[in-house]
């Protein structure tokens, strides 16, 4: 077959080893600029976990997805034409910066400019939003590899209804199970595919193929 077009990016979820190469490739080409620091339109999550933005699968909070109206047609849960207009500048259900994370950098220049001292200099973390010194408390993959599992994995909305005994297994080293969930918006190939609230023309391929266990 002579392949002339790429229709979509697909992930082989069984082979994903959580390397985030796809995330970094997407980040580097699409959201590597001021104001977009917190945006990862492709990310890789560890499941169970809270994901990014935090708890995005909790639809009672974010009002995502679809529902059937009385005539049996699918409509967005979050908005309709009339609601969109009414809430043009007010979207209480959409995630805010704290649901993503406060992006940070380090004051690298201190490594060159620090005054003489008995200790070698170090670059301290500062916020990319305020420019002020900050404590780093969240990130785009904060629960990676079951980081903070008592907080994040334990509160995965997908675990609602899972019996307590099964949950206990989650915290036993011999029985712990987790997997990676790579997520992509596919806007770069199919601009209107996944996000009905926005239509973007981004018709260039991602520059990196996802790395899997078979190619390491």
């Amino acid at each position: 077959m002579n392949v002339r077009a790429q229709m979509s990016m697909l992930f082989h979820v069984d082979k994903c080893i959580g390397c985030h190469t796809c995330s970094v490739a997407c980040k580097n080409i699409w959201t590597d600029r001021k104001g977009a620091e917190y945006m990862w339109w492709n990310n890789v999550e560890t499941r169970p976990g809270a994901g990014y933005p935090t708890g995005w699968e909790d639809q009672s909070h974010y009002q995502g997805g679809w529902r059937r109206d009385k005539s049996g047609r699918l409509t967005l849960r979050l908005q309709s034409r009339a609601r969109s207009l009414a809430r043009l500048f007010f979207s209480p259900s959409l995630p805010e910066l704290e649901d993503y994370y406060e992006p940070f950098t380090f004051r690298y220049q201190d490594l060159f400019d620090a005054p003489a001292s008995d200790d070698q200099p170090t670059a301290i973390p500062v916020s990319l939003i305020t420019g002020k010194e900050m404590e780093i408390t969240s990130g785009p993959n904060w629960d990676d590899d079951l980081s903070g599992s008592p907080i994040y994995a334990a509160n995965d909305p997908n675990w609602d209804g899972v019996p307590e005994a099964t949950r206990q297994q989650m915290s036993e080293i011999e029985r712990v199970v987790y997997n990676y969930l790579p997520r992509i918006c596919n806007h770069c190939l199919n601009p209107s595919s996944t996000h009905p609230a926005s239509r973007r023309v981004q018709a260039v391929r991602c520059t990196s193929e996802p790395r899997t266990a078979s190619c390491s």
Partner: protein, 384 residues
């Protein structure tokens, strides 16, 4: 002084372990002890020699896996393309310059069979002479392929099949070690030419490692790295290990902002979640990890995936970003290796016998330094 070398007749020099320093055998350089060579240094031209590629490469070729690959023509081409000391050197073109990073890259790409198809061919010719097997068909398809630095910047190319590695990577095949040995019947570079499961060497037998064997975790009393810190410690002693990082090749890339962002903005100290509760440590609390060797201060990660009694920090951390002052030691905290001490593994120091013979970055004593004991305590606020 030069150790007995791998892939040379030196591999037959010491079938028995005899120590000349104890008078067990006569001291014979190159036989019972390392070789010696007289080197003359012209200290006034030290810099020039440092930043140019010497003519030894031109005369001797490049060597790996016991193969000597002639590179004279490519050396001369390189010298003409990036000359140092114009009109110097044997060709009058000067020696190839290694003054800037890009020139070093070009020199490697020009002289390595993995990026120069003609040299891969010559390496297979040498391997044919050594093994009596027909092998150049492996290099024929790529014999005219060469990569410059500009090529690898434009697009990452595939390395070429070469006997200086051990895989056939032709036709898009992924690198898989020893496929050349298995498929082309190139002998392994061991005493028998085969893979060895049993190591027939008296020092391996003496240490009980001539067959794969279980070794218990070192005892903290034997390691003696926690005696003094036990006094300032609160709580239990934990086993400290430093596995390979998830996203870095040793320290490379680990302090890149993108990877720091994906690594909780630091070099987290991973703790078992139940251990953390007992120690009063919450996820993302700042912690101080310490023993007699040193101290490491970072934020913690508590996780069910870490075995109880274990602390781990991915190696190898840098000290450039976000390393606070240690409250205990009152100095800038160290990095992951500050907590360990290098101990040489004795069996890796025996050489001069078959595949156990030394070669730089290939076979020789490694620092078995990845296992020790530490104490961990929570700290309220980092002081940078």
């Amino acid at each position: 002084m030069l150790p007995l070398q791998h892939d040379t007749p030196d591999e037959l020099a010491q079938p028995e372990v005899r120590d000349w320093t104890r008078g067990e055998v006569e001291a014979i350089p190159g036989k019972t002890m390392p070789k010696f060579a007289v080197v003359e240094r012209d200290y006034s031209s030290l810099y020039e020699r440092m930043v140019s590629l010497g003519i030894g490469v031109r005369d001797n070729g490049v060597a790996a896996h016991g193969l000597r690959i002639p590179v004279k023509d490519y050396y001369d081409e390189l010298a003409a393309r990036q000359p140092r000391q114009p009109n110097g050197g044997p060709t009058g073109h000067g020696l190839p310059s290694l003054e800037v990073d890009r020139e070093v890259c070009e020199a490697i790409l020009a002289l390595d069979p993995a990026s120069n198809g003609e040299l891969a061919h010559r390496a297979f010719v040498a391997e044919e002479a050594k093994t009596g097997r027909s092998l150049t068909q492996l290099s024929d398809p790529q014999r005219n392929t060469r990569y410059s630095f500009a090529d690898i910047v434009a697009h990452p190319p595939r390395v070429l099949t070469t006997p200086t590695w051990s895989a056939n990577v032709n036709k898009g095949r992924p690198y898989s070690p020893f496929t050349l040995n298995v498929e082309e019947l190139i002998p392994w570079r061991t005493l028998t030419g085969r893979q060895h499961f049993y190591l027939d060497h008296e020092s391996y037998m003496a240490w009980g490692e001539h067959l794969p064997s279980y070794k218990p975790r070192p005892d903290h009393a034997m390691l003696s790295e926690t005696e003094r810190s036990m006094v300032e410690a609160q709580g239990r002693m934990l086993n400290y290990i430093t596995p390979h990082g998830k996203w870095s090749i040793h320290s490379t890339y680990s302090d890149n902002l993108r990877m720091q962002t994906l690594s909780r903005g630091g070099y987290p100290v991973w703790l078992n979640d139940k251990d953390a509760v007992e120690m009063g440590i919450h996820d993302n609390d700042w912690v101080e990890v310490f023993n007699d060797n040193g101290v490491f201060v970072q934020r913690s990660v508590t996780s069910a995936r870490i075995p109880r009694g274990t602390v781990f920090v991915y190696h190898a951390t840098e000290r450039t970003v976000g390393i606070p002052i240690s409250p205990l030691r009152n100095k800038r905290a160290g990095m992951n290796n500050s907590l360990i001490r290098t101990r040489l593994k004795p069996v890796l120091m025996s050489g001069g016998y078959a595949q156990f013979t030394y070669f730089f970055n290939y076979w020789g004593p490694t620092g078995v330094n990845r296992d020790t004991f530490v104490f961990v305590r929570r700290i309220d606020k980092p002081d940078f």
